[in-house]
């Protein structure tokens, strides 16, 4: 796992800082190395930015099959354009924006109603026991897992706008606001206030449920 080298501590493009962002100069350097044939650099790019692409796809609530195809399309196209990126430092935004456009195309082309009633997506947190969960044996971890499950349920029950924004924000490492903007087609300046409101709403839902 090389994703660690993508981590940095600050944003320079927005007046907002938090730890763990993908450093765009680092991303640019990795992209340039990958162009020159450095497979390890490509691996670091994929591992550092895959969760962002996946989050964008998930935020748009595609069916699993569509989500998988969009994710692949985005990475195939990124590999194809690798040596021609105008701003390699903004590879994250390029990926997020491409993912968004492909998602919108899928939604536009949908003639079948797989959009929101894909039971696997909606019931994932409530019904499925993931491999991770089955591994949990200590009581403490079980309590923590239950808390995470509840948090996820409340997150899924949020309105579309908040659910979308938070799904992108929660990708790992945390995306920059430029990337979030590219992922959702919203202005950078509106992300902070909307984020604050959505997180408060989620907290209120958790509190109402007594799952503090």
């Amino acid at each position: 796992m090389r994703a660690g080298i993508l981590r940095s501590t600050a944003y320079d493009d927005v007046p907002y800082t938090r730890g763990g962002a993908v450093d765009r100069t680092e991303v640019g350097a990795l992209a340039r190395s990958a162009v020159d044939g450095d497979a390890a650099a490509w691996k670091a790019l994929v591992e550092g930015l895959s969760p962002l692409v996946w989050s964008v796809v998930r935020a748009h609530r595609l069916s699993d099959a569509d989500a998988h195809e969009v994710y692949q399309t985005v990475w195939f196209r990124f590999a194809q354009h690798l040596g021609r990126l105008r701003e390699p430092d903004k590879a994250g935004s390029w990926l997020a924006s491409t993912a968004r456009h492909e998602c919108l195309k899928v939604l536009k082309g949908l003639t079948r109603l797989t959009l929101t009633d894909d039971p696997q997506v909606l019931d994932r947190a409530s019904e499925d026991r993931t491999p991770e969960q089955t591994l949990i044996d200590s009581e403490e971890e079980a309590v923590e897992a239950e808390r995470i499950r509840r948090l996820w349920q409340e997150f899924e029950a949020l309105g579309d706008r908040c659910r979308k924004l938070l799904r992108v924000l929660m990708s790992s490492p945390p995306p920059s606001y430029l990337e979030v903007s590219a992922a959702l087609g919203i202005a950078v300046g509106s992300i902070g206030p909307l984020r604050q409101r959505c997180l408060r709403r989620l907290r209120a839902r958790m509190d109402a449920r007594g799952a503090v």
Binding site: Q72, P174, P193
Partner: protein, 158 residues
């Protein structure tokens, strides 16, 4: 910093820590909705698709986006046009496969790429007209060898 305009004092008095909650969500996503391992592997393998020598034919028309929907024709074929310089490739994707034409008319060798490891040749006539009786399953691209150069169409989801 509170960008929502709510007074800082109220914000802190409520004991609400948005960063902490976001971090918890990040943990939840890592456990409950991670990138599927098979997809991560496909993205790693996609490195093989980077080809500095090939020209990219950009998508200039997509009926899904650029055409008005035709009512009562739910299975209207997907019409795509790609362009690289003077070369244009028109493609029609149907449930039965692909039909297309290279313009200006010329003989070419054409393959349908289905991923980092999949390339299937299609039949092309001397005027650059081609057919494939296998509809693309998932993302695809066309690789053309014509006039001494290699052109690859932008990856697209069928």
């Amino acid at each position: 910093m509170d960008e929502s305009g709510i007074p800082e004092g109220d914000f802190e008095a409520s004991g609400f820590d948005g960063d902490l909650l976001e971090e918890e969500l990040r943990q939840a996503a890592t456990v409950l909705d991670p990138v599927p391992a098979a997809l991560l592997q496909l993205a790693l393998d996609a490195y093989a698709l980077h080809d500095l020598d090939a020209r990219i034919a950009e998508l200039t028309f997509d009926s899904l986006v650029d055409a008005l929907p035709v009512r009562g024709v739910p299975d209207a074929p997907r019409m795509l046009t790609f362009r690289a310089g003077a070369v244009t490739v028109d493609v029609e994707v149907t449930g039965e496969g692909l039909i297309g034409q290279v313009l200006p008319p010329q003989s070419a060798r054409i393959e349908v790429l289905g991923g980092p490891q999949t390339a299937r040749p299609v039949t092309v006539d001397t005027l650059g007209r081609f057919t494939s009786d296998t509809p693309p399953a998932g993302p695809f691209a066309l690789r053309l060898r014509a006039g001494g150069e290699v052109i690859v169409t932008e990856w697209l989801r069928a």
